[in-house]
């Protein structure tokens, strides 16, 4: 009997992904990386879909440095959504991104729920954009110590306003910094979200070992990397078990085994974030490794693996 190679392709709503690995917003700037790295990223693109850095209605210069600090198997950041603004993104970046051999998922954020609707209206007219992700969960732009995404009503309102303005595949990125993530997930889905990204970074801080003062210019930040994988895996498991819409799993994905586990926990696709900083071609290696792991374990397809951890024993 000839064994068929495992099927890595998977559908995320209307998006056809060649394999389940995409990037987390803000962790891979293909336009910059393509200038710097010898690899021809527009041909050998490591991700099955591309999520550019979150954009806002107005340009933002971001938070006061230092913005980064490494912690055990983790990274704290307080970038603060530095971005050129949605209009420049549409005018300058999108025309170049359309050459990518992967669908584009635009990521947007705003200080008020209305901003999400206005961003979606602008993006709805862009044919290069396959889907929109609402970043309601960035921990670094809070004025009152709370992201909009920590409140189910506010999340629902942002999603509903976005839904009114676009027919594109609508993703809401959830914050782990809540008591009940399933409640926020239900609110987003009830307001019209087609898909959920689970999770954004985890609130954290670090002190300088000598001065004993906060290291980050913004005092607190968001923790990412392998240190948060168990937090993310639990959230993916709970949200995908309770809701009928697809989940993109993320949070500390670094190895092919991590990809396998997030799919088994219930994710339909998996995003690589901080691991891109460790190795900008990490995703390409993960896709190859995933195929090998599936052959080794006799797993025929990604689709058949999704949610396996949820089956009764």
């Amino acid at each position: 009997m000839v064994k068929m190679p495992p099927e890595l392709a998977v559908s995320l709503g209307p998006l056809k992904l060649a394999h389940p690995i995409i990037n987390a917003s803000g962790t891979f700037d293909v336009l910059e990386a393509d200038k710097i790295l010898e690899a021809d990223l527009f041909h050998d693109f490591p991700f099955a879909a591309y999520v550019p850095k979150t954009v806002t209605l107005e340009p933002r210069e971001g938070n006061t440095p230092p913005r980064l600090y490494e912690t055990p198997a983790g990274l704290l950041n307080s970038i603060g959504l530095a971005n050129k603004g949605i209009e420049s993104f549409i005018a300058e970046d999108l025309p170049r991104l359309r050459e990518l051999p992967a669908p584009i998922i635009a990521s947007v954020a705003g200080g008020r729920t209305e901003d999400y609707g206005r961003c979606c209206r602008l993006l709805d007219a862009q044919e290069e954009v396959a889907a929109v992700e609402l970043n309601v969960s960035c921990p670094n732009v809070e004025t009152d110590g709370r992201a909009l995404g920590s409140d189910p009503q506010q999340t629902a309102r942002a999603a509903a306003l976005a839904r009114q303005e676009t027919s594109k595949f609508l993703i809401v990125k959830l914050s782990p910094n809540v008591t009940d993530i399933v409640a926020v997930a239900r609110a987003a889905a009830g307001a019209g979200a087609d898909c959920l990204s689970v999770i954004n970074t985890v609130h954290g801080m670090a002190l300088d070992p000598w001065s004993l003062k906060p290291v980050l210019g913004h005092t607190t930040g968001g923790l990412s990397g392998p240190a948060i994988k168990p937090v993310a895996l639990r959230a993916v498991y709970l949200v995908s078990r309770e809701l009928d819409i697809p989940v993109i799993g993320m949070g500390g994905v670094t190895t092919s085994q991590d990809v396998l586990e997030f799919l088994a926990a219930g994710a339909t696709a998996v995003a690589v974030g901080t691991a891109n900083f460790r190795d900008p071609l990490a995703a390409a290696r993960l896709a190859l490794g995933l195929k090998e792991l599936m052959v080794e374990r006799g797993i025929g397809s990604v689709a058949g693996l999704i949610g396996r951890a949820q089956a009764p024993p």
């Binding site: 803000g26 700037d29 710097i36 010898e38 490494e70 198997a73 901080t274 071609l281």
Partner: protein, 262 residues
């Protein structure tokens, strides 16, 4: 170096072929012919020990200290977990290396070069001094350190005219680099003005920028910031320049001293 002359970097796994103490620092040499061939003074690499270990998680930015034919050398000060791990590299260990990265020093001028280094910041000045000398520029080095342990690194500049200072007077003259600097920046009538190339702690760079401005000479300074990606993705390494933040990894690490907002 400008955008038109920009040569792309790549990723390599490189065997360590030499590792020796230089006072409080460690000089680590590894085989990286592609990087050695492309390296421009002032550029950097992102480097970590090869392998699956997740702590330390990210590569560290390290100045290219020297490069010749096949070898690239870095000078490491073990200050944190990442740098301590790199400093502990032994012959035969493998490093995961991406580079060369960033915008290095502009060496196109003609005047005498005054290189100012503070502590581990002397590292990129080794290749800079050598390259400037090859181009026929007069090179003078002013190197400042905390104490003798660090000042041993002045041996890397033995082919050049070097002024060594330590804060505690344990080697060379007692004092800071800003003391002898103005004396090296006199503009001779009819001659091209001196130029300053500096790398070191922020406080030193600030003083170098001020003195250079007062003497009316150009100063290029190499800054150090926390970096995650090294290739312009994460926006973490920004530094305040006139009017905006700029990324130290792509727009720098070398900046015109006058562009920085201190």
């Amino acid at each position: 170096m400008d955008a038109e002359n920009f040569i792309p970097a790549s990723l390599y796994v490189c065997p360590v072929v030499a590792s020796r103490p230089v006072g409080a620092y460690r000089q680590v040499a590894f085989v990286a012919p592609e990087i050695a061939a492309l390296a421009h003074p002032g550029q950097f690499i992102m480097v970590r020990r090869a392998g699956p270990a997740l702590d330390p998680l990210l590569p560290r930015p390290m100045c290219i200290s020297d490069a010749d034919s096949d070898l690239v050398k870095i000078l490491v000060e073990p200050v944190g977990k990442g740098s301590a791990k790199l400093a502990a590299s032994q012959v035969g260990d493998r490093l995961s290396v991406m580079g060369p990265l960033g915008t290095g020093f502009d060496l196109e001028g003609e005047g005498p070069a005054v290189l100012v280094g503070g502590g581990i910041g002397v590292s990129p000045l080794v290749l800079t001094a050598g390259t400037l000398a090859e181009r026929g520029r007069a090179v003078r080095c002013i190197l400042g350190f905390r104490a003798r342990q660090q000042a041993v690194a002045a041996e890397l500049f033995r082919d050049f005219d070097v002024d060594v200072l330590t804060e505690d007077g344990s080697m060379g003259r007692t004092g800071l680099v800003n003391e002898p600097l103005p004396g090296c920046l006199a503009i001779e009538p009819g001659q091209p003005a001196p130029e300053v190339f500096a790398c070191g702690p922020d406080g030193m760079l600030w003083e170098v920028a001020r003195i250079s401005r007062e003497c009316g000479v150009r100063a290029q300074v190499s800054v150090a910031t926390h970096m995650a990606c090294g290739i312009g993705s994460c926006q973490g390494c920004v530094i305040r320049t006139k009017g905006s933040y700029r990324k130290a990894c792509t727009s720098g690490p070398v900046f015109e001293a006058g562009e920085l907002e201190w």
